[in-house]
Amino acid sequence: MTDERSRNQHGHVHDHDHGHAGAGSELPEMELRVRALESLLLEKGYVDPKALDTLIETYETKVGPHNGARVVAKAWVDLQYRKWLLEDATAAIASLGYTGRQGEHMVALENTERVHNMVVCTLCSCYPWPVLGLPPVWYKSAPYRSRAVIDPRGVLAEFGVTLPGHVELRVWDSTAEIRYLVLPMRPGGTDGWSEDRLAGLVTRNSMIGTGLAEVPQGAQVRS
């Protein structure tokens, strides 16, 4: 650490975590290699360490599925907004302040009693960052990428979700720069709820299509 600080011309102190206890051989090697690379790129002036910190902070603490939950909750209470979201999701989502990287071209997919939408990226890990943040590990994993398109009901079962047999199961493979946000069904027992309260029922998985919105305790599931 001292060595690294002394070599850093930018006077920036790294907040490296030394708490790892050698879980697997990849870890120490990667820690060293990434540090060497960062040090080199700083010396060459290719990156600004403060910018790196800001990038990490942004996606670790600021951008996340709470953004998407606001979009969904608004669409549940405001029919005009819902219509706009389904017609021009990029603009409707931007109106709430969520724009940019990995969400430049948004499409919203409406789940109904008859249609359930589920999103995957079989080729890499495309995911709508401005509304959902960075994807969870399972979304980027080979099991999900391989099976979502051929056996989505099997995948849903692993998430504890079973849909009636008559429901049309549509899988959307994000092969281009279009990013998909699933608009889950509003649970019953929520009449008169505020947007804020409704947003608390919108799970991250319900916006990918691997889950449903939460049902308030004591309420009946819509059949």
Binding site: L37, A51, C124, V137, Y144, I150, R170, V171, D173
Partner: protein, 218 residues
Amino acid sequence: MNGVHDMGGMHGFGPVVAESDEPRFHQQWERRAFALTLGMGALGQWNLDQSRSARESLPAAQYLASSYYRIWFDGLIRLMLERRLVTPEELADGRMRSAPLLLARALAADAVPAALARGGSTQRPQAGKARFAVGDRVRALNINPPTHTRLPRYCRGKPGTIVRLHGAHVFPDSNALGAGENPQWLYSVRFEAGDVWGPGTTASTVFVDCWEPYLEAR
């Protein structure tokens, strides 16, 4: 390319396992590798498609055995070595031996929020008219380019229907080769799952975003 990254429909990877806590990053190096990838990307020395192509071009066994951010890291290294932004000797110990190439200024911290909010639209003006309209019956071409493509193997040669026109977008197959953005009309194409997988699939329909050069009329 017919790489192992093109995973749709493969068997043998086991069940989907979700973590209970789902941290965004699992190790400190993952944070830094993520940020370095975005920070270096901001210099404009490669485009999105070249970045994806670099990851896909990692040796197949290495790709499958690597964690996600390890793939990002190895892809980043490959892109920088190809452009001589760094040398293998410099990477070994992190000490600069060759003067930096003169590039755009590094992304500054105070420019990060605006850069992220702006993103990078891939939509472009397109002179000609779109060849297909919503409802048209099409077929994905049976092609096997050895270079980058975004047409998954599983839908090649399969019949589908146009459900949406997304405008013209940068064509990855050209852009990844540094051969220009070559914008092409982009469509959402609906494939009946039975046409793609035969009996036994639990999907009803699979939608794939396809650029016009991936499609023919049927």
